[in-house]
Amino acid sequence: MNLDSLVKHSPALVVALPLLLAFSTPLWSRFNKQLRNIWVVAGMCMTTLLGLFMAYNVLRYGPITYVFGASDPTQTIPHDSGGIPIRIIFNVDAMSAFMVIIIAIVGLATTIYARPSELRRKGLNSFYALLMLLIAGVLGLVCTGDLFNMFVFFEISSLAGAALVAYRIDKGIAVEAGLKYALISTVGGLFFLIAVALLYGQYGSLNIAVIAKMMQFTRLDRFALVFITVPLAMKAGAVPMHMWTPDAYSRAPSSITAFLVVSSQASLYALFRILFTLYNVTLDCRTFGWIIIILGVLSMFIGVTMALPQKTVKRLMAYHAISQTGYMLLGVGVGLATLCDQDKGGAFDVCGRTAMVGGVFHIINHAMYKGLLFLTAGAVIHRTGVRNLEELGGLGHSMKLTMVFFIIGALSIAGIPPFNGFASKILIYESVFMFSPYLAIIAILVSILTLASFVKVFHSMFMGPKLPKFAEVKDAPTPMMFGMGLLAVMIVIGGLFPTIVTENIVEPAVTALTNQSAYIRTIFILP
């Protein structure tokens, strides 16, 4: 198999590989449990390599399209169809590649981390199967260029995610969280489906590029916009629809929580894809941009103020996840609000583009440091069995490396210079200040509150004298260390060399988002 055909088929393979892993894992354990663990980790390494390879090719040589069921996977329009693409098409552009990079790295870290933390439990087969299904669903969601397909992957990731949240039954409490998550995301998914039906009824196609080309922004399109935006913002955890987030995040196994963060980011990706690629300038940029900005500011502020009084460590971090999502919505919202002024010297050039770069850059940073923080919290809970902050203490003596990882994550989320959180937040502050100074002030205030909150967590988990009840506690096992270390290294790299990351990954992603005609051109190859 030569490398060219691997590149050509990579969009399909990157989704097919985790699906294969999901359904073959239970078979392997019939022979040998150890063999199954090796199979899962090796398969996930392959998926990660393939994902990074595909992302590299997309960023270097331009978008890859994959047409399912066609004799030639790059032929988007069949000869006899009259110029309309009829098959399901995966359209991987720079923004999708950006998301694939995040999913690949965090997916690998969580898969390696999961083994020791779940080893003592039964049903590890279904755990791995569901985790792989979740990864496949999220990868599909970011790769697809078809609205109905997007709905299907949305549902796959919701169902697998909900089942994983409920995985540790926990006297029914985890199941309660899972039920909440499944119910809310299914209702959201159904509204998404209704919106897809409305768009299909008008334009007779499901392909994003085809609909974008014909978009009229009629009254039905506005209904469809609302029906799509609300479920996706809900799944991303934006504030008026955030109530499932702390429950699901705090009750899921820690490795899963770290990946659920990525799953939320993928919904955010879908939201941006719909807003920028499907509707673009047809919608009233200023009004809708402000709606997104207000969602973002509410998420930031309410998330962080709800986090301050929390007593359980993962619930506190879950509220911070909501608050950080607000930064991305704020950055990209400013970009959307200025999108209609795209001419030279317009507001988009002055601040909109930088704000979008900051918001999109924050997605990858958030996935890394939030994943790391949830993993360190999981390591502490794994070793001590305690989740209440008031009962923890003095762990700095025995869990030194975990403490170092926690410090890296905490400083990064608070936006302290040598780490990656600072790199994206400074971009957001600068550009949002030019757009509206008040918004920038709120953003900085939220960052300070975040720091305060994490100082509290750090103090109550790691500081103080060694407690007698934790005398036996050792540092986390090696695979967990590896998972956390991988994310910590990414955070430090992102913090030390932010320009390399923004120039090579983030800038192309933002260009791909804002340039609607380039996306349409990948399907309709102009003569």
Binding site: F148, L159, L193
Partner: protein, 120 residues
């Protein structure tokens, strides 16, 4: 008016589903409301795919007088979408009901007002 009847029905079913979900306290009934909403979604898809006086897109079994002059064939995409959506709906329903079973085993109740150990 008559042509719009399916869409009005979709609206009524969807509203019935949402109202059921909002007003009932028994979680099984809430899930029944969800199923109604799902049915509304599927109905909407089928209604959108309907074309008056057209035939199924099976080329070999199309009746001779309808082929010339060429009759309209419906695009089968919506039917395929509906089938997929039904399958997803079954999977969701199974998952939700198994959650309900686990909750009932541990809490001994289905009343959503007393299923609230998830606080703090």
């Amino acid at each position: 008016m008559l042509a719009n009847f399916p869409f009005i029905a979709v609206g009524i079913i969807a509203i019935a589903g949402i109202v059921t979900m909002l007003l009932r306290v028994n979680i099984i009934r809430i899930i029944m409301g969800l199923t109604l909403l799902e049915a509304a979604g599927n109905f909407l898809l089928v209604a959108i795919g309907y074309r008056h006086n057209s035939i199924a897109p099976i080329f070999t079994s199309a009746p001779e007088e309808k082929i010339r002059p060429p009759a309209e064939m419906v695009l089968p995409t919506v039917q395929a979408m509906t089938l997929t959506s039904i399958v997803i709906g079954v999977a969701t329903l199974a998952l939700l009901l198994s959650f309900v079973m686990a909750i009932y085993r541990d809490y001994g109740t289905l009343d959503c007002r007393s299923i609230r150990k998830l606080q703090g």
